[in-house]
């Protein structure tokens, strides 16, 4: 069985995929992964997950314009310039 190994470098950080080990069960995976991914004290924690239980998502529907949900969907420069000209003000100090 393949166990995917996710490691947390420091407490508070996200777990990141680090590799995989072949083991018959979680107990062996634990014994082996802790040495492969932590013998130098380089990992605060590990998650060991049987590969078969991982559900991967790689396909997305991208048919319609979704820019209204994203930062790049907004362009305020031109309108801000016009508003300042109308008010007779210059750009705010903090910009």
């Amino acid at each position: 069985m393949i166990y995917e190994v996710f490691r947390q470098e420091k407490k508070g950080q996200a777990f990141q995929h680090a590799g995989s080990v072949e083991a018959p069960d979680a107990a062996f995976a634990d014994t082996w992964a802790r040495e492969q991914y932590g013998r130098r004290g380089e990992s605060a924690a590990l998650w060991l997950v049987p590969r078969a239980t991982i559900h991967e998502v790689t396909e997305w529907a991208d048919e319609f314009d979704l820019k209204y949900r994203r930062v790049d969907g907004y362009s305020i420069k031109a309108r801000l310039k016009e508003a300042r000209e109308r008010a007779g003000t210059t750009a705010a100090e903090s910009g």
Binding site: M1, A18, G19, S20, V21, E22, P24, D25, F28, Q36, R39, E56, T58
Partner: protein, 297 residues
């Protein structure tokens, strides 16, 4: 080359990376698996020249350091074999091909070790040559391989320091110890110069074309000489090549390495090729019952 493959080639040549589940051109996949497999085999076979010195280590600290270094090599083998397995080749099949000679491993691991001088030279210079190749894989177009190279390069950094420490202890020791280092260097120089492979122009090297490697063979060798010839000379050691010299334009020139020797060695005719493969086979066979018991989950 069909359109899809051409697009793939352009993609990787622009720095694009692919994952295990992506479509890969047949030629790319075949070359990739062969390259990765040879790397994994090399890490595994590289253990054999070094493990006997773990048992002979002359201080507790050296025993610990050398055991840890060789443990790393085994760990690297595990990481690399896993990548090849996920490309579809089972580990057992790779071991069988290694033993039968169908698959290869790097030249340096076909040579004997005779003294503690070898231990120092291997950790200092052979590992250095390997690290240069490994750094050129950090941007591999095949992302799973690039990702494990990060861990491998990080771990190798302590090997070089350990190697240098072993060498410096001998170079500041007795005359006999200094002689051990020089004698080992004399034997390892030839294989080291052959290690990075013949100077095929990188645009003719499929490994570079597909961006599996990010540098050509000669680039790697020049990098090695630039980094390590000065380190060798500053210790008062001599390099057994009177032609070795850095030109004004920064290029290193040297005696032509023996490419026939390299070909002969990597095809299994090195001084220790067969008995190391036999040793590996002996233990694979002896402990097959354990794998059958433990890996049948």
């Amino acid at each position: 080359m069909d359109t899809k493959t051409q697009e793939f080639l352009a993609f990787v040549q622009e720095g694009g990376q692919v994952e295990a589940g992506d479509w890969l051109p047949d030629e790319y996949r075949a070359k990739l698996v062969k390259f990765i497999e040879m790397h994994a085999n090399s890490e595994l076979m590289g253990v054999l020249p070094e493990r006997e010195w773990i048992l002979k280590a002359p201080t507790l600290q050296r025993k610990l350091a050398l055991t840890a270094k060789v443990q790393d090599e085994v760990g690297h083998a595990q990481l690399i074999y896993r990548v090849a397995e996920d490309l579809g080749k089972p580990r057992g099949e790779m071991f069988a091909d290694l033993i039968s000679g169908k698959a290869k491993f790097h030249n340096v691991f076909h040579y004997p070790t005779y003294t503690w001088g070898d231990v120092g030279v291997i950790a200092w210079l052979v590992d250095a040559a390997a690290i240069i190749s490994q750094k050129a894989l950090l941007k591999c177009s095949y992302a799973p391989y690039a990702r494990i190279m990060k861990k491998i390069c990080w771990e190798e950094s302590f090997h070089i320091l350990h190697g240098r420490d072993v060498i410096l202890a001998m170079m500041t020791g007795t005359d006999e110890q200094r002689e051990l280092v020089q004698e080992a260097l004399n034997r390892w120089w030839g294989p080291l110069m052959q290690f990075h492979g013949n100077p095929i122009p990188r645009d003719e090297d499929p490994m570079y074309v597909w961006r599996i490697k990010s540098q050509g063979n000669e680039e790697a060798r020049q990098q090695f000489l630039d980094g390590y010839a000065p380190q060798i000379w500053e210790l008062g050691l001599t390099v057994p090549d009177p032609k070795l010299e850095k030109l004004a334009d920064g290029t290193w020139v040297y005696s032509e390495p023996d490419w026939d020797e390299l070909m002969s060695v990597v095809t299994g005719h090195g001084p220790r090729s067969q008995d190391r493969l036999a040793f590996r086979k002996q233990f694979l066979d002896q402990e097959k019952w354990v794998r059958d018991l433990v890996l049948a989950a």
